[in-house]
């Protein structure tokens, strides 16, 4: 049985659908596999966003510090992209990211991929479209949560 390459793994991720074979080769050239244990922080608020992740299996939590202590504001799991700060200046993480359940991820070097995006604007545009889709979905989900759907109305 042939061992799956990083490129094979990236090709199976729905979140990267729309990238062609050449695009995946370019991305795979900046990527490597990692296994992350629960409790490990893979990003800290304010630190350079020098990589991002595609979660193959497992779960991570995005956390923010509040006066009452750290709050988990989103969890991401199988097939999710973790991190888009790498693509937007000033390239710093906005949240802490903690591994909640042992995770198998593809970690992608942000500087490497940014350079490839700059060198090949068509490739960069396709990557940007994928990330714009993810950002748009998360913005929409955030707006819905801002409605406090499960909150109490004032009724009977």
């Amino acid at each position: 049985m042939r061992t799956k390459t990083i490129r094979d793994l990236l090709a199976t991720q729905p979140v990267l659908a729309g990238l062609d074979d050449g695009d995946l080769d370019l991305m795979a050239g900046c990527a490597h596999n990692e296994v992350l244990e629960a409790g490990v922080f893979i990003a800290r608020e304010g630190e350079p966003a020098d990589r991002f992740f595609v979660v193959r299996a497992g779960r991570v939590g995005l956390e923010i510090h509040a006066p009452t202590g750290p709050l988990v504001i989103e969890t991401l799991g199988d097939g999710d992209l973790v991190g888009w700060s790498w693509i937007v200046p000033p390239h710093r993480w906005v949240y802490d990211v903690e591994v909640l359940e042992r995770a198998h991820v593809v970690a992608i070097d942000a500087a490497c991929l940014r350079d490839k995006c700059e060198a090949d604007p068509a490739f960069g545009y396709r990557v940007m479209k994928r990330f714009a889709q993810v950002v748009a979905e998360r913005l929409q989900a955030t707006r819905l949560r801002l409605l406090d759907l499960y909150g109490t109305g004032d009724d009977g």
Binding site: T75, L144, Y150, G151, D154, G156
Partner: protein, 291 residues
Amino acid sequence: MTGEDGGVATVDDRARSPAGPMVPVRYRVTDRCVETADTVTLELAPVDEPVQDPAPGQFSMLYAFGAGEVPISISGCPTAQHGPRHTIRAVGATTRALCRLEPGSMVGVRGPFGAGWPVSIAEGADVLVVGGGIGLAPLRPVVHEVLAQRERFGRVGVLVGARTPADVLYPAELERWRSEAGFHVDVTVDVAARGWRGHVGLVTSLLDRLPIRRDRTTAFLCGPEIMMRIVAQDLIDSGTDPARILVSLERNMHCAVRLCGHCQLGPMFVCADGPVISWARAAPLLAVRRW
């Protein structure tokens, strides 16, 4: 009785209550279970001749003497071990009064009213239950019914959305369901303190990971209308028949017998024609903007 939109049951008004649908029957609170900081479940036993046994998805008008009357969904149908149960969230004067009732207290009951969940139409198919906030309460009897006839149903997905982990209803029961063969139970909250090992995010974020066959699924949804809308749309986009997506609507029910008109939604009275209707029927009604 089969309804026009695919099997939604209806009940004859006159059969429900011995003294007629407008006269409360006295019940005594036999058990009070504190579910969350603002939500309790009351188990009742009749003092007078009882009302008709409710079906999953129906509601009662509960009368807190001296405070008022409100519609409350059945969260547990009567069994040999339990009387009818209602899960109540304290959001106003009457519900606060109901939530304060202790065992031995008296409450008035009218009902049961409305069309319930047509659980039988899911036989032979997968079942998806999505409850948001207090919306899990009317869905609990659906799961009970599926469990009671487990061999008749395929895979079962139960998704629960809540504000915080402390607001999740029936956590012990969710754990029991999780251990059932073929059951997949997931909980997501809007925000959590560190240490919460469940999901944080919209309930739709859990749908893609659910091992149910969308084109062979009957879905039962109850919760905020916006939540039901986005879940229904997600299901339709991936192949679920809108007629097999059932939603429970919440409107301002007062009389509960289609007289007062407070709960009118287009051509229907939610108290009698609902609260459970198919998404195929609900979607055009809910799409009407009110200016």
